[in-house]
Amino acid sequence: MKKVVIDESFLSQLERLETVLKNNVAGMFGGNRRSKNLGSSCEFADYRDYMPGDDVTKIDWNAYARFDKLYQKLYFDERQMHTRIYLDVSRSMIHGSDDKAVAAIRLAAALAYLSVSEMDKVSIYAIRGGSLEEVVSGMVGKDSYLNCIGKLNELEFDSDSRISEAIVPSSVGRGDGYSVIISDFLTDENYEMAIDRLAEQRRDILCVQILSREEINPQIRGKMHLFDSEDQSKFFRKKIDQDVVRAYKDALKYVTDRIKLYCESRGGQYVLVPAHAELSEIFLDKFVNMGVLK
């Protein structure tokens, strides 16, 4: 099954975009991301008086000729970011008319490409049960991307997912880029702790909730006995009519609002992505409008 199908024109469009980071960039290695600290990049930042011991190569001689005083030119520092993508591989992602798993993988692949295009490092993790499974680690550069991204196709969506239990104990980095959680968030398991942990570590947080068409606007009616794909002991038995569907939509709104509010309260961002939506629509429209990309 070819889950990662991203056409070249879309990728070329992605290359023109750039992720917007809010927190201070604090990577260990030099890269493409301008830090608010001063460093040795080519981008001029400011002047200051020369002090003995400063690098004489950075004295602005033109300024000396004009003001008869030595000034030291200062430059921005640039750091390499580490984008970490957490992918929910629970069974709920592969059930339903629309394949949420495919949409999630494509989304992850696209985000990863975007990051490697910006010379950032990318790691992709699968949330399997209460632990993280490293799918791609420290991927840098497009060559590496092309070599590694195929691993996403090998992911098995066959477990449950406990987001906080998996992310909180893991090494999430500190202030060095985006942490993207891609899930349907259809769980009563606690995900807030994971968001808190990422926020603590000054990570830019992006929660992407993928829902199928049926989950957004259920069409089933009548007497239904619905079983949970992740846990057969969970079921919902009711005569589903318009009132029940209306209540379902209220519940959906409650869940999405709650995630959104929680993310925003922690400085993060949230986006609801229909599984059937086109990637171009998500990236070029939704993400740009939300300010995730520019």
């Binding site: 339903g96 259809l186 989950e215 007497k223 619905l226 992740e230 038995r237 009519d241 209220d250």
Partner: protein
């Protein structure tokens, strides 16, 4: 609580059956979905939106169970006992002619029946109803009937007469009911205003201002080829100018017309005339329309020369009787001697003087001084008693109708006899007119053959009775009795009894009332009687051995019923009223049907809601 049809409760078996069907039918479609998280969460929102959501799943079942229960109960007809709620109703319904007055678009009689029907409908089940109708006579239509439906049906079948109203008998009956149960509710439903009423309630259905005109007391006389018809016309509630027309012999063209102006409550005599050498009938009509039509017309029929009789006198010495018969009657009188008598037939009256036939003829008969008994005569003979000195016959002081009629104009003094026949075993239906020493001398009645019979217990020749005026008068009365006109009177007032003299040769008498109803008068007696309770022409068809005869008589509306604003005197049911009630019943059939309809509608709405998600 009891059930009229307990077997109807078998229908309750439907309840467990229905539940079973629901259990078997409630199959849920199974489906695995990505997550039940949202659906489970939706329950909270659903319950918040629909507090009674727990019921919605089984509301249809509940409604259908209720339907089965209500339907079963409706079939089983539960009856609840309601203590001290039922009453005994006694309705006295005025069926007199004035009740035919139109009040609005109904007659007073229809309004009265509606009032009673409403009271019966409103009465608690278990109450009893008595209906007494009153016109010229009183009849109890039903007594202490507890079946509402039957009571109403019989009430609806009750008709109104055109006659007068006589309450005494009805009140006597009502008093009887009251005495038996002093908590009886007695209602007098009438169209008259009554000044006072005690222990009964008067339901007045009258229209006091209804316009009514009447014509009454019609009579006619032929003089010089002209019929002069007289009558009295009245206007009761309003000033009016009345037009009265005269029609003679059934003609469609008015022979004469008169206009009479009257103040309210006034009456006036009116005379109309028309050319006629003879008349069989004339009709006088008020052409103005009013609220009571029955008293706007009156017809007078002429019955003269309807009947004739032939008389056979069997006597050795007929001279005296022959002369009397010739003087007193126009009838043909044949005279033969006893030897010549061979049982001749075809005569209306047989007079046997001092002779006793072997067999009585089947006709009216006089037996004068018969010395022998004869079968079917209705009496036996002990013998002939001679008196040393003439004895005085005593006139009967009987107050019977027949005695009064036959002795009309007879003084009965100074009648002496020297010999008489002593009778034995006399029929009780004979009326003694004269007697001597408690032995009947002259008596009349109906013999065993059903024929009128007059018996003289002495010979005229052996008494000086024949010399007295009384004799002529008595013989005249007896001739009228023995040779009566079948119908003597052609004009009656509604409510009166029409009399038909049943002579020996009459086989049947049929009376056709104005509304076409046919009645036969009993011909086993000598006088047939029928109450005329409708205004209009009654046709009397008599079938006799000598042929058929037809008579028309007219019953006019009683004057007392014509005034819509008449006020009656008080009514009084004596005694002290109590207010006890008996145990009544409550039949919730209507309620059950209403509930059934509501539940059915609700179930249908639930079905439509579920099926089509109607909003």
């Amino acid at each position: 609580m009891s059930f009229l049809y307990p077997l109807g409760l078998i229908g309750l078996i439907g309840v467990p059956l229905l539940i079973l069907i629901y259990i078997l039918r409630s199959k849920y479609n199974e489906q695995t979905i990505p997550s039940t998280y949202l659906w489970t969460l939706s329950e909270k929102f659903f319950k918040r939106r629909n507090p009674l959501s727990g019921l919605t799943g089984i509301i249809s079942l509940i409604l259908q169970i209720l339907m089965v229960i209500f339907a079963s109960l409706a079939i089983a007809r539960p009856i609840f006992t309601v203590p001290e709620s039922a009453s005994e109703y006694c309705f006295v319904l005025d069926c007199s002619g004035s009740m035919n007055t139109v009040n609005g678009n109904k007659t007073c009689f229809e309004l009265a029946k509606n009032e009673i029907e409403d009271m019966i409908d409103d009465a608690r089940l278990g109450s009893s109803y008595t209906l007494i109708t009153v016109s010229s006579d009183t009849s109890v239509v039903y007594e202490r009937l507890t079946d509402k439906k039957l009571a109403v049906e019989l009430l609806r079948d009750t008709g109104c007469s055109d006659g007068t109203v006589e309450y005494s008998d009805a009140l006597e009956r009502a008093q009887q009911y009251f005495d038996e149960n002093t908590s009886s509710l007695i209602y007098l439903v009438t169209d008259r205003e009554y000044t006072d009423a005690e222990n009964l309630e008067i339901v007045n259905v009258s229209s006091q201002n209804a316009a009514n005109y009447a014509i009454s007391d019609a009579s006619g006389a032929l003089t010089d080829g002209t019929l002069y018809a007289n009558a009295t016309v009245s206007s009761y509630t309003s000033d009016a100018t009345l037009t009265v027309e005269l029609y003679i012999n059934g003609s469609d063209r008015a022979a004469d017309t008169a206009t009479v102006s009257l103040k309210a409550g006034e009456s006036a005599a009116v005379e109309l005339s028309g050319k006629a050498t003879a008349y069989s009938s004339f009709r006088m009509v008020i052409t103005n329309s009013d609220n009571l039509a029955t008293d706007n017309e009156i017809i007078c029929y002429n019955l003269t020369s309807e009947d004739s009789y032939s008389i056979l006198l069997v006597s050795e010495t007929p001279l005296f009787y022959r002369a009397l018969f010739d003087a007193l009657t126009d009838s043909v009188v044949d005279v033969i001697t006893p030897e010549e008598y061979m049982g001749q037939s075809g005569y209306g009256l047989y007079v046997f003087h001092s002779y006793t036939p072997d067999v009585l003829p089947d006709a009216a008969v006089w037996l004068i001084n018969s010395s022998e008994s004869v079968d079917d005569s209705g009496f036996g003979i002990r013998g002939i008693i001679g008196l040393d000195t003439p004895g005085q016959a005593v006139k009967s002081n009987s107050t019977s109708t027949r005695a009064r009629e036959l002795l009309s104009g007879v003084e009965g003094k100074d009648i002496f006899i020297s010999e008489y026949v002593k009778y034995s075993g006399m029929y009780t239906q004979f009326t003694t007119l004269f007697s001597y020493d408690s032995n009947p001398l002259i008596f009349a009645g109906v013999n065993a053959l059903g024929n009128r019979e007059v018996v003289f217990g002495f010979d005229i020749h052996k008494a000086h009775f024949a010399m007295l005026t009384d004799f002529v008068v008595l013989l005249s009365n007896l001739l009228e009795y023995s040779c009566p006109a079948v119908v003597e009177e052609a004009s009656y007032v509604c409510g009166e009894e029409m009399k038909v003299n049943i002579t020996a040769n009459i086989d049947s008498v049929k009376v056709i009332s104005p509304d076409g109803e046919e009645n036969y008068i009993d011909t086993s007696t000598d006088l047939g009687v029928m109450t005329l309770d409708k205004v209009g022409t009654y046709r009397v068809e008599v079938i006799a051995t000598d042929g058929e005869r037809t008579y028309d008589v007219y019953a006019s509306a009683p004057v007392s019923e014509s005034n819509p604003a008449s006020v009656g005197s008080g009514f009084s049911i004596s005694g002290t009223r109590s207010f006890d009630k008996t145990d009544g019943q409550y039949d919730p059939l209507v309620l059950l049907f209403v509930l059934l309809a509501i539940v059915f509608t609700a179930d249908w709405m639930v079905y439509c809601y579920e099926k089509y998600q109607l909003r």
